[in-house]
Each structure stands twice: as C-alpha cells, then as structure tokens.
C-alpha cells in the first residue's frame, strides 16, 4: 500500500499542489534535503505530462500519484489513463517504453534542432521526460493500453560509509 496516495483533477493549477505533497512526503521518508529539489521537479514534470495527456483524451479522469517509503527507497508513481502515444510519445527519450533509465542516462532532444522546430508545447513535451531522466535516480516509464505510468525513486536512507 502506498504511504500517501493523491488523485487530482487534471488541471495545471493542481500540479503545484502535487509537487508540494511529494516533497513533503519525501522529506518525511528520509530523502536527503539535497535531493528534495530533484524530487519536486521530477514529480512536477511527470504530473504536467499526465495532466496534458488527460486534458487531450480524458479530462474527467483524475491523475494519480502514489508515494511509497520502501525503506531504502522513496518511490513515486504517477499514472495517467490516457491512451498511449500522447505527449510523451514522439519525443520521449530512450527508456520511455518500459526500459529502465539509469542515473544520468536522460538524453535531451537535440536542443538546437528543437529551437527551429515545434511550438512551445511540443518543446516542453520533448524536454519533460528528459528532465525526469536527468533528475531521478531511477526511472521507469511503462506504457500500457490503459495509460502511462512514470515510476521514479530516490534513496531514502543515509548512505552507508
């Protein structure tokens, strides 16, 4: 069972609330203060992605976040119920199809190429998962017929010497 579970109407205004809750639960779970900014940003990115997907495909459905203290890991899962191939789709970095992305493995879209290409929203979608991959210690993005879930985790105990 998740330590804390939140569902919210897919509106941009609620993404801030989701970030704040995730940061608070991470702190309570023993995540190092130095990592809290990364938790806040990565969870915000995952929620923004899910909100955009729901707004396009199922605005009546809530976005779900599960935060679990698993002892040595703090795990956050952000799940949407939008059909796959939504904003994460085309511009997703390696790892966005169910593969584990290791630390620092996030590959951003070619920034210079992006500047000459898509509109603001598409640019943001392209960078969203790249930012998550660059920040979370461990990321797994799973696409199923019922939606996309982004699972992220960080160490929640003090590192052993």
């Amino acid at each position: 069972m998740a330590t804390v579970e939140v569902t919210f109407t897919p509106l941009p205004a609620h993404v801030r609330t989701a970030r704040l809750v995730a940061t608070a639960v991470a702190r309570r779970s023993g995540v190092d203060e130095a990592l809290l900014d990364e938790v806040r940003l990565a969870v915000g990115e995952a929620c923004s992605r899910a909100v955009e997907a729901h707004r396009r495909h199922c605005p009546a459905e809530p976005v779900r976040i599960e935060m679990t203290d698993q002892g040595e890991r703090f795990v956050v899962v952000v799940s949407d119920h939008a059909p796959t191939g939504t904003p994460a789709g085309d511009a997703a970095p390696p790892g966005a199809n169910g593969h584990t992305v290791g630390p620092g493995a996030g590959s951003a879209p070619d920034a210079a190429a992006v500047v000459h290409g898509a509109d603001d929203a598409a640019i943001a979608a392209g960078f969203g998962l790249a930012v998550i991959s660059g920040l979370a210690d461990d990321v797994r993005v799973s696409s199923t017929s019922s939606g996309v879930s982004v699972r992220m985790s960080w160490p929640s105990a003090a590192p052993t010497a």
């Binding site: 970030r19 806040r40 070619d110 509109d119 640019i123 943001a124 960078f127």
Partner: protein
Amino acid sequence: MALEDFVDLKLGHYNKDGIEVVDVEGEIDVYTAPRLRELLIDLVNKNNYQLVVNMEKVEFLDSTGLGVLVGGLKRVRAHDGSLDLVCTQERILKIFRITGLTKVFGIHETVDAAIAAKKLEK
C-alpha cells in the same frame, strides 16, 4: 488571507539601453508559464527583439517554462534578435544543462553583463 495567497509568478519589464529586460519572480510551471509566454509575445509584437530574461528570483522552472523561453527565442530570432538569460542559481542552471539548452541561450551572471554582451554582438 488564504493558503493560496502565495507568490506564484510575478512579471515585470523595463527598457535599458534599448534592450528589454524581463524580471521573473516565483514559479514557472505548467500553470503559470502561459503568462510569461503572453508577455514575451506582447514584447515581440511591440518590436522588442533584444530581450534579457532575469531569472535570479525564479524559485522553480520546469519544461513548460523551458518551452516558453525557447519559443521566445525563436520569435526574436525571426527578427534577427536574441534572448539572453540572467541566472546564477545552480538548481535552475542544472535544468538548462540536462536539456542541452546551455548551448542555445546566452546565460549571464548579471543583467549588466547580459546587456554588455548584447552590445558587443551588435
């Protein structure tokens, strides 16, 4: 006084030496970024093509904010202009590094340094 009574995003702008400086304070995210986008579009529509966005008081920036800044850059470049940033906060700079955007934006430590760099470009 409600719980929601927080600074989400404050925007201001002024002209200095022919360069439009945009002061941004607070959080740039999926909720607030459209306001920054509107301001940048408005400035470009009023023929301001040399922009400096001062991010020293930005507390949070996500990919939506990056998208707006890149969108602004595209708009000024279409008029042979440029959009530079002022930022010394490590947690904000890290996002630009992760996404490779440090190669796209000129990033300076102070507004004066950004303006001086733009004058050299001219």
